[in-house]
């Protein structure tokens, strides 16, 4: 059975200057589990991708909020939910294909691929005009 041991929520404006704040805040919260350097770096990278997606895609047209919930679960598991109320993704499967991007030039199209490969489980829900929710889970080593 999944038990919530600890939880932290924040909402922040989708400004690119908040990308580093979001990953630093989440990393600080998770530090109570004494993660390895690699685990922490994986989580920060996945968070950075999800938050960047909110800024570059979800709120491309209008500024809005990003809602983040981080849970520490039993057995050293972490779940992170990153939600926006932006434009939504018409075709989630297509958006998750590596190298696919609608942002052009300087975006590599690897956001979801990084989230998928750096976490243990990734779920994406999206509705056009209503927003996107990304949830990922990471199992930390027991030390």
């Amino acid at each position: 059975m999944i038990k919530i041991i600890n939880q932290f929520k924040m909402e922040l404006l989708a400004r690119s200057s908040n990308e580093s704040f979001a990953r630093a805040a989440i990393a600080a919260f998770i530090s109570q589990l004494d993660p390895t350097v690699e685990e922490l770096s994986d989580i920060k990278t996945a968070v950075s991708e999800a938050v960047t997606n909110c800024i570059v895609h979800a709120y491309k047209e209008q500024l809005g909020y990003i809602y983040i919930t981080v849970r520490i679960l039993n057995d050293n598991k972490v779940s992170i939910k990153i939600k926006d109320k932006g434009c939504g993704i018409p075709d989630v499967e297509k958006a998750m294909e590596p190298l696919y991007t609608t942002a052009g030039g300087e975006r590599a199209g690897l956001g979801f691929a990084v989230m998928e490969s750096f976490t243990d489980k990734l779920t994406v829900h999206s509705a056009v005009g209503r927003g996107t929710t990304v949830i990922f889970h990471k199992q930390l080593q027991t030390r």
Binding site: S48, E106, A108, V114
Partner: protein, 104 residues
């Protein structure tokens, strides 16, 4: 995030430091492109030694500079990425576009 650029003959080296993400990539990109367009070097070295964090924005940065260097037949060489940065680069298959050199 900081970027120092050194030019020596046909080579441009951009020494990056700090956290490389979507927010910080823009000014780095502009600084590097300005120098590369002026010098048109044979080799562009991107030194990641002092980069403490990088997400896929760093991959976009390298891919964009690769395309720019291709315009005049130059190459991009990545120096000293940390293990976590190498992990992102491997996922992206960046080794196909740029030589990756790690000092011992």
């Amino acid at each position: 995030m900081q970027c120092s650029i050194f030019t020596s003959g046909n080579m441009v080296t951009a020494k990056l430091s700090g956290e490389l993400d979507h927010h910080s990539a823009k000014s780095i990109r502009e600084q590097i492109d300005c120098e590369v367009e002026a010098v048109q070097p044979d080799k562009l070295f991107l030194d990641f030694k002092d980069i403490t964090f990088m997400d896929s924005s760093g991959i976009g940065l390298v891919m964009g500079r690769y395309r720019l260097m291709q315009l005049h037949g130059g190459e991009v060489i990545i120096l000293n990425p940390s293990p976590s940065i190498r992990k992102v680069m491997r996922l992206a298959g960046l080794g196909r576009l740029a030589k990756i050199e790690t000092s011992a």
